[in-house]
Assembly symmetry: C2
Homo-oligomer: 335 residues x 2
DNA sequence: TTGTATGCGTTATCAT
DNA sequence: ATGATAACGCATACAA
């Protein structure tokens, strides 16, 4: 391994000068600096992040907290896209990404300790139980964090606009003449709360009432739960004309039930999903859904976090709400 | 931040003794060690990975190379499962995971340099262009590596048994009476080569000939390409009775075309996929496919890599072939 | 069994 | 503009 000392010896200068040349400091002669850099290149030098971090306290490394109660974290296209785009943006800005977890090896480190252990300059938090004390401890620590789809006081967050998304979907379905709308929602999270509130509010604003039996608990990313819920809806005497699913993927379960029941989509039953994943536009008929801008969210999370890391003093926490867009498929019939 | 020195001072011992106590060395008194550990716990001590790495040369950190020409790396359930299970296993064994990439920031580091820069103890390589000189450089370096679905000479690899998988699928389809079998295959990779070779060989062994026009290039994870290929097959005068798709996800594209053409699956056309992703068993009819054991592959990759890292001397490179299992759905008709 | 001393590669302070 | 030197926190060879 080529070190600063090796280069210093070869160039007949001090290690300090080499460091300055490599890092582009101003207090070094123009041509010496250039000579040193050239030699460094010739010798195949690249820095040692570890030593640099130890000395400077900055690791150029951001942690990603991506825990997965439901085992579907990475399998969920929404989250995998967020991760992927956050990764590219971080890399573009010169940062690496390390996964943060609890219980690494036998040490009983919590998230905060793990992040400190690895000297993470900041942490991106997504797809976790935000009520977990360990998550709260991390968020309230001195480490810069960005949360996705959950807002903490005085902390930066990137939130998909679930209120607008649900509102647009309801209005669209309403404009197609539907008044009897059912909603199979995901498990209780803040995202679910917002979508449900927006669902009820928009319906109320439009003057349509929603029967209690039209609102059923399903689960995100779980076609089986959606299938069961769909079956319940079909058993009702007064069936809805349109069903909202927790997300595009879980819709598959409902789709099967509807087809089994001999109901054609959208002629006998209209449906909408949520997410706008690749799959939804591959199905026939194409699913009407609300596409969340996961790519932008991931990029923005990385951008904001690194901005915070690099300019801690003039940093103000922001809540960034990211709009998506309605994708008009062919699963909502004009009544 | 609590350091070894702080603990040493509080315990009236040397830093060396604290280090020994923390790391459970034997050359320290039983009760002093316990006392030191207790104090450390009280003081909220956790180690500093950076300093430890700098001194010991070991980072307890493995790199993951997961590049994605087709933009579908993480979106592909097969790979996201591999990543997730490799991550859990690595964590269980006390290792963290950092993504390795090219072009971090403005530095022109290649994969090898990046891995060294972060002092990775080893690297897991998946979903990349294995012909890329930068990948080859990394694999041929002194850094332990494990590759997935690609074999390098004298290096450890975890390979899904594509030969057996394809063989089982062909035999199954054959047993159902099919003789006119079409194969839409993915882009040219070593995986594709093996599947195709196995496809041809098994057909030959069974004494069935495959018309050249039955074998069409599609793309992995690309329903559109599968749709186009399917259309071509339907245009043939002598249509196949069964179509093999590159994978389960791309099958969606074919499924749509078949349905549009008024063909019922499997009554008018039989189909099989590959991968055994969650989705495949949610579709109706359930897809007949070959399920790759991605979870095991990821775990094994981490296990083997760390074994290699921790016992470099008695390490022998292995090629581990991981069998999957045929999932008999309802998309192959008995002729 | 315990402690001393040194160095891992880098950056930063302070002289020169 | 350049260099000497001390730290960052830890682990280890060696001395006691």
């Amino acid at each position: 391994m080529v070190t600063l000392a090796d280069i210093a010896k070869r160039c007949n200068v001090s290690r300090a000068s080499v460091s300055k040349a490599i890092n582009g400091h101003s207090d070094i002669g123009k041509e010496t600096a250039e000579f040193i850099r050239k030699t460094a290149r010739e010798m195949g030098y690249y820095p040692n992040a570890t030593a640099r971090t130890l000395k400077s306290g900055r690791s150029q490394n951001v942690g990603v907290l991506f825990v997965d109660k439901t085992q579907s974290g990475l399998a969920h296209e929404y989250f995998s896209k967020i991760l992927e785009s956050a990764k590219s943006m971080a890399e573009k800005l010169g940062y690496d990404i390390t996964f943060i977890s609890r219980d690494i090896g036998t040490t009983g480190m919590d998230f905060y300790e793990h992040a400190k252990y690895r000297q993470c300059d900041g942490v991106i938090i997504a797809s976790v139980d935000f009520e977990d004390p360990a998550v709260i401890k991390l968020v309230n620590s001195e480490i810069p964090t960005v949360t996705l789809d959950y807002v903490f006081n005085n902390r930066t967050s990137i939130v998909s606009d679930n209120v607008k998304g649900m509102e647009e979907l309801v209005k669209y379905v309403y404009s197609k003449g539907h008044r009897k709308i059912a909603y199979i929602h995901g498990e209780e999270t803040s995202v679910t709360q917002r979508r449900m509130a927006s669902f009820y509010k928009t319906c109320a604003d439009l003057g349509i009432g929603i029967k209690p039996e039209y609102v059923i608990r399903g689960d995100y990313h779980d076609p089986k739960a959606a299938a069961i819920a769909t079956r319940k809806l079909l058993e009702l005497n007064d069936r809805p004309t349109c069903i909202f699913y927790p997300d595009d993927f879980s819709y598959i379960g409902g789709m099967n039930i509807l087809e089994q029941a001999g109901l054609s989509i959208p002629d006998d039953m209209s449906v909408v999903g949520y997410d706008g994943i690749h799959l939804s536009q591959m199905l026939r008929p194409k699913l009407t859904t609300y596409q969340q801008d996961a790519t932008f969210m991931g990029e923005e999370a990385a951008r904001q976090l690194i901005e915070n890391i690099e300019h801690p003093t003039l940093w103000l926490p922001r809540q960034i709400t990211v709009p998506g867009k309605l994708i008009e498929g062919s699963t909502v019939k004009q009544l």
